[in-house]
């Protein structure tokens, strides 16, 4: 396949991702506007980050005027999974793939783009990644900007309903693997229970939303790794 064919194939495979991103980032834009980010700021945030869970968690830090250190640690923890995906993708590239292509592919490492990239037969062409990333990010950024600007003129009923969209996406990511694996299921339930305790229990509830997610993640994932080490 030529570079152009790979690019076009990537764009085509990116269309469903683009649609899904649009719906979710629209909800993100509404929430960003809720804490007084302008449509430009929200769009810039989406363009530079392209990470639903990380951006969503980041809004909580901005809203509570948390420190930049807290923001950095939170992003590192929430987006830690990209470390694994990036490592896996490095094995899909030919060894002679130049560094600038590796840096380009890195920008588009998300759950969904990683998913379609790692499924490619044979070596991964950087141009496939670029095509998929371009289309997906277009949906992600335009949805954010529209949500942040038009969110204000939408009926309140609709805004209320869209508020749950991001959580729906998180559930769609974690539940199918939880069906397959008991340790994953227990990890998911334990994460929810621990987050509930940290949200409402005396003393613990004083922690910011960001620190809560970090502590619960390290405790629960650490315990799961200790009890059920993953083979290979």
């Amino acid at each position: 396949m030529t570079n152009k064919q790979n690019f076009l194939q990537g764009m085509k495979n990116g269309i469903p991702i683009c649609l899904g991103y649009f719906a979710v980032s629209f909800a993100f834009g509404i929430q960003a506007a809720d804490i007084n980010l302008s449509p430009f700021q929200a769009g810039l945030l989406s363009l530079l980050n392209v990470t639903s869970a990380g951006q969503f968690a980041g809004l909580a830090v901005i809203a509570s005027a948390g420190s930049y250190i807290e923001m950095a640690i939170l992003q590192a923890i929430v987006n830690l999974r990209y470390l694994l995906m990036s490592a896996a993708l490095s094995q899909k590239l030919t060894p002679e793939t130049p560094t600038f292509h590796r840096l380009g592919i890195a920008y588009g490492v998300t759950d969904e783009i990683f998913g379609i990239s790692v499924m490619r037969k044979g070596a991964l062409s950087p141009y496939f990644s670029y095509g998929a990333t371009l289309v997906s990010v277009f949906g992600w950024v335009s949805g954010t900007v529209l949500g942040a600007s038009a969110g204000a003129i939408l009926p309140q009923r609709l805004i209320s309903a869209l508020g749950i969209a991001l959580y729906g996406m998180f559930i769609a990511i974690i539940i199918p693997p939880a069906r397959e694996s008991r340790p994953v299921l227990i990890t998911v339930v334990a994460g929810m229970v621990a987050a509930t305790i940290f949200t409402y229990a005396p003393v613990l509830r004083a922690l910011s939303g960001g620190m809560r997610i970090i502590i619960v993640t390290v405790l629960v994932a650490g315990a799961a790794a200790y009890i059920w080490p993953v083979e290979n």
Binding site: G54, L89, I164, I171, V188, T196, T199, V230
Partner: protein, 104 residues
């Protein structure tokens, strides 16, 4: 101390990009530690679960409609529906639930 939105965005972007770029460019060998590999494997599940619940309960205007939407999302996800179907299905369920509850 006041915080700049742009500085927040920059910190987020720098950390997130570094995480994505470092393994692709630097790490060529497999991670040896079984514990670290296992920990990394469980991280997304623990994080996303902690971010979803209990926050989802207050994500809409009414706790009751959010609970119904939560249930709808769980059912759809258990049936292995795609991200967009689960996200939109949960939203549509909340919308319908609030319209019905609004008339009661």
């Amino acid at each position: 101390m006041t915080h700049s939105v742009y500085l927040y965005i920059l910190v987020m972007a720098a950390v997130t990009y570094a995480i994505r770029a470092l393994p692709l460019t630097l790490i060529r060998k497999e991670i040896k530690s079984k514990f670290i590999r296992s920990f990394l494997y469980y991280v997304p599940f623990a994080t996303l679960a902690a971010m979803t619940f209990p926050a989802i309960i207050t994500s809409t205007d009414y706790v009751s409609s959010a609970c119904i939407g939560f249930a709808a999302a769980l059912i759809l996800a258990f049936r292995r529906q795609s991200l967009i179907v689960v996200a939109c299905g949960a939203s549509a369920t909340v919308l319908i639930a609030e319209l019905i509850l609004g008339f009661m």
